[in-house]
Amino acid sequence: MSHDEKRTNAMKILTTPRMERCIGCHACSLACARLIHKRLSWDTAGIRIRSSGGLSTGFEARTCLACSPAPCVAVCPTNAFSQRKGGGVIARKKLCIRCGACAKACPVDAIYLDASGEPFVCIHCGKCVPYCPHDCLEHTESSRGAAAAGQETTNAGEAEA
């Protein structure tokens, strides 16, 4: 991969533009847990599927919307979450003290805390995308503005799971 490609990839974000097609197989969550977090789980993953009853009847994805600036970063007391270029966060688990502030700050419930309080959030790597049988997901260039000056992290894209 060339330097430019790496850079482009680093700027990409995961989006869920076609969730109306979702059949609720959970392949995306299971893939994230398996490939990124080395877990068998549908919870400890950066994308989680839940059913949505009522009029819309179908499924919705709980995943990071790639905020920039990210509210979860603003409240993290240890810099375990830092701003990612293109939106979202870079997570450094070694720094995390399991305070849960990030999950509380997330406006869209995209951060899952396991029983020990460890946070799981999408790192926008796109590895879940090919496992979706109905192309609900996309790994795409962010159309939003970059992080505010001074809040960017230089090694974006090399997120630590």
Binding site: K38, R39, L40, S41, W42, D43, G53, C132, H134
Partner: protein, 583 residues
Amino acid sequence: MIRDHFRVLIADLSTEQRTITDIDGRYTVAGGSGLAAMLFEKYCSPSRSWDDPAQPLIFAIGPLTGYFPLMSKTVCAFKSPYHDQYAESHGGGRSALSLRFADFDALVITGRAKSPHALIVGSRQIELRDIHYLWGTDLQVAGKVLRRMFPGAGHRTILRIGPAGERQSPMACITADTYRHFGRLGGGAVMGAKNLKAIMIHGDASFPLPEGNDYVKVFDKVHTDMTDTEMMSKYHNLGTPGNIRLMNELKALPIRNLQATADPATDGITGERFAEVALLRNAACAGCPVGCIHIGFVRERFHEENRYLYRQISYDHELIFAVGSMLGVMDCFEVLKIIDVAEKMGLDVMSPGVALAWATEAFGKGMITEKETLVPLAFGDSNSYQQALEHIAYGTNEFYQLLSQGTMKAAARYGGGDFACVLGQEMAGYATGEVFFVSQALGLRHSHLDSGGYSYDQKPKGKTVDDAVKFLIQDEKGRVFLTSMVSCLFARGVYTDDMLSTCLTSVGYGALADNMDTVANEIQRLRWKMRIKTGYRPESVSIPKRFSEMTNWKGPVDRQFIEALKAAYGQRIVELAGFAEGK
């Protein structure tokens, strides 16, 4: 979780005691069907009736559940109200993954709650909750309330029963997550007898993956086979309803109580027709990227002034056959309306559909009248069938109480056993011939999926009784190993023995992979042992005359072959279970 034993939750509803126990046997019975039979042997009282509070209701998953695609079924085992013998019923939805992530290999429920209760299970929660206020609610109402009451939307299963189960009808199913069912042989009645309206399982744990890269590589191979190759396209496309047209072309589709096997009018209920006008969307069991669940819709005009409501209803070949072709209802929306009533009542669709086909013929022959049926039954009359289904669920009168116990129970009282389409239980939608009829009639689950008799029937002529017996026994053995994993049987083309062996090895069950043949033999033996121990006698199973009066693409059915195959297959089953003479 990979472990050498089974982690089992025993919940006694009478004492409210909940016990977690480790049970050996991973390398002899594997899980799923094998584990369910082993637990049944441990906890069942063979001589006591099915509704004795002590009898267990068992849910079991397999060693690969959650680890690989389409390992997404749960085996439910119980003493059946239909025949008071051992029974297995398989269901999907989110049941299997929820049980996996609740960190149990099986759930055993014994006892009887003092009032209608729900059992709530999670990795950090085991609770019994009084929900007497939901007793009597249909499944649409119960589903909505239960979803609101319990946490974990998307990562839980809610298994529940409707009025039919509460009334302990042998045709009552257990519904899983709205669109899937433990349909046959009366699992819903067993929950009813236990005063158990619902079971909620929250899959809220996670586990470390096996060490090394093998597992991820093998997963990708299986996932690709399931999604990128033609192996599963049948289920991804029209789904099983594609069989309606194929069976009709073969003159092997049971129509109007098997008085016909082909009819151009079935054009109105083919999988193609459903897809064209009634298919709303697809859904999947958790852990299955194929998504074979087909959901159609009906809309209902409830006011003159163009006011409508709509409902979503899942459909499959077996359902369309049972309340479509079998009842002469040849319009897909009318079929969906009938399925919808069965869903609300918590009835299996197949058994009551086939039972009403018998009742319609008996009504036409004057053997029963409107005094019994309460509505005039006539092939094609969807409205009457919708009302009749409610009568079956509620057991409105003596006739419907008997019919809801099985067609043969009603036939014993009113006559007409010769034309009852019963093969151990009400038939499945394949009139392919002798081998299928014997296979379903004697099969452990009385299911078309016990072994592939319907596909054997479609092979060239010249078959012998010996060949057919060998095929049925061998095919069943392969299938019981798969249902011990617990794989969806639609994936049997992908999960060959070699592939299963690779999968098992990749997650650390190499010892199981090395012994698949021995383990499969043991599971097959143990299941039949449980069935025979609870009263099964193959020689007492009859195949009604109607099955040899029909004609399909091969011509008339050979009654002599049926009888010879039934005797030889029955004998082989008894030998296999270790009950042969002198043993």
